[in-house]
């Protein structure tokens, strides 16, 4: 019973704190300030998501086939060195990638999407590759011995069994992507970075937070959406969250 009382007291304390924070933010005019930025936030969230969607979508479309291709037995010799190349690609900080792509592609959406695409590519390719390589060899032998063609083996056995790992890669990649999009503002592609960086420059915490809080929320929401997609798409027999 003491623990229950403690938990109850804790909950009460949080409620009181939230209430006080509400009173404080209302009285200090912070709420009004946030409401002032609402149209900007709305416009920039759409722009932000659009950047994520383009770069992330492009990365998924390229990385998954790349991972599949590298996992084929005929590619075994070059696969690991290709993966190393991609690895080196990720070691370069995203800001540097953006700067590099700006120097080749100029400013605006195109270089931003390209830079984000490069940063997002590797986790997906890597997880697709390791996921497929990690499929139990006994399954592959059984699939071959039963008389499945290489394509049938890939689609009916290998991919379904690697899907959970592939989705984990997509989750990581898109979390990185959404967190990196604010940097795209620096090369003139817009997004919530506009509020964050301008807020920092002007030392305007409310402006900064109007950019930072939606960015954080977007990251959480997108992560949840992917988790739900994974939950629904990964077959039940190989889905740890549905075991």
């Amino acid at each position: 019973m003491p623990t229950l009382n403690l938990a109850g007291a804790g909950r009460l304390l949080v409620l009181v704190a939230v209430f006080l924070a509400g009173i404080w933010s209302q009285s200090s005019g912070m709420i009004d300030d946030f409401i002032f930025y609402l149209p900007d936030v709305h416009y920039l969230v759409v722009q932000h998501l659009w950047l994520t969607l383009m770069s992330g979508g492009l990365a998924i479309v390229v990385a998954i086939p790349l991972g599949i291709l590298l996992s084929r037995p005929s590619m075994a010799r070059v696969a690991e060195s290709m993966m190393q190349v991609l690895n080196v690609g990720t070691t370069i900080p995203t800001l540097a990638v953006l700067a590099l792509s700006m120097s080749f592609l100029g400013i605006g959406t195109v270089p931003a999407v390209f830079g984000l695409f490069v940063a997002t590519l590797l986790p997906i390719a890597r997880n697709t590759y390791t996921g497929l390589k990690g499929v139990n060899p006994a399954l592959k032998e059984a699939a071959a011995g039963i008389g499945m063609s290489p394509t049938q083996r890939l689609l009916r056995v290998e991919l379904p069994n690697a899907l959970y790992v592939i989705f984990a890669g997509i989750r990581t990649a898109l979390a990185i992507n959404i967190g990196t999009v604010p940097l795209a503002f620096l090369i003139g592609a817009g997004g919530l970075g506009e509020l964050i960086f301008t807020g920092i420059d002007l030392y305007d915490p409310v402006m900064m937070l109007s950019g930072a809080i939606p960015t954080a929320l977007l990251a959480v929401v997108v992560d949840m959406l992917i988790a739900i997609t994974a939950f629904l798409l990964v077959p039940r027999g190989v889905n740890p969250s549905r075991a």
Binding site: N136, A138, L139, E141, A142, A143, A144, G145, I146, G147, M148, S149, Q152, R156, V157, P160, N161, P235, R236, G237, V238, A243
Partner: protein
């Protein structure tokens, strides 16, 4: 029927060419189980996997039911061969039903037909269709999974099956159960089966024929009893083990060695009669007493008969052991040792005494083949040519 003709596999390794299978030629008649047996690295698995081209032969040919398989498309070939592996290899992303119906679907059966087939297979392996078809492999025990593995291999009713140590990963108790079930199924299905094993006891139990491999070569290919009675060389002999005479006990049914002649007494006989029969039949310790239906009701001890007067009905003890005609010699031998008996009465399905099996008959049976073998090559060949006659005492 499976026929291998000079099947050879040479692997190129950094250390040079390694011959994993060296001109293997053998034939498995239709409806028989052939066990490929040998220590690890002897080429038995390579030979098996060349049949469905998981391993590509370097040279040589495989004929299935007389047809040269090298002209067939790999996928078509494999879809018509059941394949069971030690690691089971059920697809964890598919339900049991989907796993069983994989091959029928690949062969383009229509839905109603393959779904009915899945239910039929489940009944065949003695698993409740409604309880299991919608479940996933991870929800089943190892033994259940391998039953499904066998069902999947049999689903499209292939004439030929390849089994690579199928029961190797299952605990000994379940393994024996699955082996028995499989043998029972095979009696109805009559598939031609190649079966890799490294377990001599499994080979003797399951095999109609046993092929012993060593270092890529086929050393001896014969029926189990023949193999145990007449191993071709020292390697085969040591591989079969020092106790190979005892292993033969598994292969012989009491029916083959039982003698119809047995000394009995009735409840109304006197103990003097009993003693006389014990001596005339050469029993040392006791004699069986039967009722009007020839069912054993007890035994009369020689010591009691010697020292007491009266009728058998007043001085009998309970019958220690009886065996049926379908039991194997191993069971009898074990009972004889346990109860210190030189003979055991045999009963039919109704429990009526039909004869006896004696220790002498067993040792004579085991010994006759060895003697024939050791008399010299000519005699050994003659013994191999003619099946050993059942010895009647």
């Amino acid at each position: 029927m499976i026929r291998l003709d000079n099947l050879t596999k040479v692997f190129d390794t950094p250390k040079g060419a390694v011959t994993a299978a060296d001109h293997i030629s053998m034939e498995v008649p239709s409806g028989e189980i052939c066990i490929l047996l040998g220590p690890s690295g002897c080429g038995k698995t390579t030979t098996l996997k060349m049949i469905n081209r998981i391993v590509r032969p370097t040279s040589g040919k495989v004929f299935i039911n007389g047809e040269d398989t090298s002209s067939l498309d790999t996928q078509d070939l494999r879809r018509n061969i059941g394949y069971v592996i030690q690691q089971i290899g059920l697809f964890p992303n598919m339900t049991i039903e989907e796993n069983i119906t994989v091959v029928p679907k690949l062969l383009g059966w229509d839905k109603a037909k393959y779904r009915e087939r899945a239910r039929e297979m489940m009944r065949m392996i003695a698993m409740e269709p409604d309880a299991f078809l919608k479940r996933y492999p991870s929800e089943l025990s190892g033994g259940q999974q391998q039953r499904i593995g066998v069902a999947r291999a049999l689903a499209a009713d292939p004439p030929v099956m390849l089994m690579d140590e199928p029961f190797g990963a299952i605990d000994p108790i379940n393994r024996a159960v699955i082996q028995d079930e499989f043998l029972k199924m095979q009696q109805e299905l009559n598939k031609t089966i190649m079966f890799v094993s490294h377990d001599i006891d499994e080979a003797i139990k399951m095999g109609d024929r046993i092929a012993i491999f060593r270092e890529g070569k086929l050393v001896q290919y014969s029926e189990p009893d023949e193999l145990l009675a007449a191993p071709k060389n020292d390697f085969v002999e040591s591989f079969l083990g020092e106790d190979r005479a005892l292993k033969r006990l598994n292969l012989v049914k009491i029916r083959d060695l039982a003698s119809e002649e047995i000394g009995l007494v009735r409840p109304d006989d006197t103990l003097a009669t009993a003693l006389q029969r014990i001596e005339s039949y050469g029993y040392v310790n006791s004699i069986v007493m039967v009722n009007d239906k020839r069912q054993p009701v007890g035994i009369i001890n020689a010591a009691v008969a010697r020292t007491t007067h009266g009728h058998c009905r007043d001085h009998y003890q309970s019958v220690p052991v009886v065996v049926t005609l379908d039991d194997d010699l191993r069971k009898v031998a074990s009972l004889m040792f346990a109860h210190d008996m030189t003979w055991v009465p045999c009963v039919d399905d109704d429990g009526r005494i039909v004869g006896q099996i004696t220790q002498r008959a067993i040792t004579h049976h085991l010994g006759s083949r060895y003697r024939a073998h050791s008399k010299g090559e000519d005699n050994a060949k003659a013994a191999e040519a003619s099946p050993s006659p059942a010895i009647k005492e």
